[in-house]
Symmetry: C2
Subunit: 227 residues, 2 copies
Amino acid sequence: MPNARETKELILDTAEKLFSEKGVDGVSLRSLTAAAGVNIAAAHYHFGSKEEVAKAVFARRIRPVNRERIQLLDTYQEHGQPSVEELLTAFFAPALRLAREPQRGYDFMRLCARFYSEPAEYLESTFREEFSQVLSRFHEAFQRALPELGEEEVGLRLHFAIGVMVHTLLNPTRTCLPRLGPQASDSDKATLDAMVRFVAAGMRSAPAAQFPAGAVAALSAHAEVAQ
Amino acid sequence: MPNARETKELILDTAEKLFSEKGVDGVSLRSLTAAAGVNIAAAHYHFGSKEEVAKAVFARRIRPVNRERIQLLDTYQEHGQPSVEELLTAFFAPALRLAREPQRGYDFMRLCARFYSEPAEYLESTFREEFSQVLSRFHEAFQRALPELGEEEVGLRLHFAIGVMVHTLLNPTRTCLPRLGPQASDSDKATLDAMVRFVAAGMRSAPAAQFPAGAVAALSAHAEVAQ
DNA sequence: CATGGATTCAATCAAACGTTTGAATTAATC
DNA sequence: GATTAATTCAAACGTTTGATTGAATCCATG
């Protein structure tokens, strides 16, 4: 049994890197094992299928992150009701701290976002399994931090907040426009800072509608502007 | 030359539906043409390649939307400096109005978000081409609406705002948690309303950092909580 | 040093992929 | 009614996919 441990982790490390770049669906098991310098059959021997490789590379890192999220939440809650900023920090910080890890931290964060957005069903369900507890805990905590909002409204806003994070992790520098989004020069801490402030303000915004004059008209099929 | 027009649009319509569900990469040209009831060679005859089919189905709908966004922006700007809410409405409303179209509007919005998140390079560049003008105009407009913020900060926040929209369009009802995100009962108008309020508050949030006590510690590698 | 389970390897499988081909079919033009 | 161009079609192209096989190799143990 030559270097069994090395082979298995070599596959996971390489998968983390390639999947995050090209998506799980965009990387063949052949190119993956070739890049790792191992035989194709080794991947099936150690994991059983490509699907299981993907699940393993995901679970390997997301579990410590989600464990830390809950521990941070626990710590904050020991000192009374956490503020919105504290809740957001407890949620965002472990992810961004992992993303900052020198070796492959960032690769994984992108992989994590890909798991969320790729259409394959097993990726979706894997993601759901790994996150259900964390999201349930935070949903509850935000509900208590924002008692004036309905449960549905809190769920909707938490959904928006996750959108900000997923999008930011997935598109760290490059975006549609050169100067849009975090710049290469920005530190992760500055990005987290900006993100927490942005989302906290959104979570706290007034529950009632202060809709601008043109909004309803803009949503109707109006001939004078739309075409 | 039997029903050339019908065949071409049949392919586009079917592609819009299938690509939005499974992603461009997740749908083979074979299954696509089979679902459309046309020969597989017809796709190559009319478009040249699968790539060109994807570009065509995207351009067909995004151009009117982005044209309307700019027209709405022009209309608002005729009456002076638009508010943040007006700018957000001008940006979000055309997309959500299309998403509300009875036939295939929603399919396309999801496709649009997939173009943004799928890793294939040509999807990315196509997206960038179609959006560069719109984003440039709105970046500039937000900069004027929020003069107290630096240009970089506005770009970062606009990036967050797009994240909210992409995420919301991509995950309309189903999410990791049953009661997270827009519910099936929510109307599009209510979702737009909530989205505009959330994002407007984020765009307007104080530029200086009011960081919670634990945030910096949470980002450092701290042994007592992380594990 | 022999045994045996663990691991690696080259070779191969059927299925699916995007693309191409050349003949058949359709509809307009002369 | 023959000619021509546009369109459709079944069939096949070569390549790549995830998965499997059975022989070879390794290493800890007896």
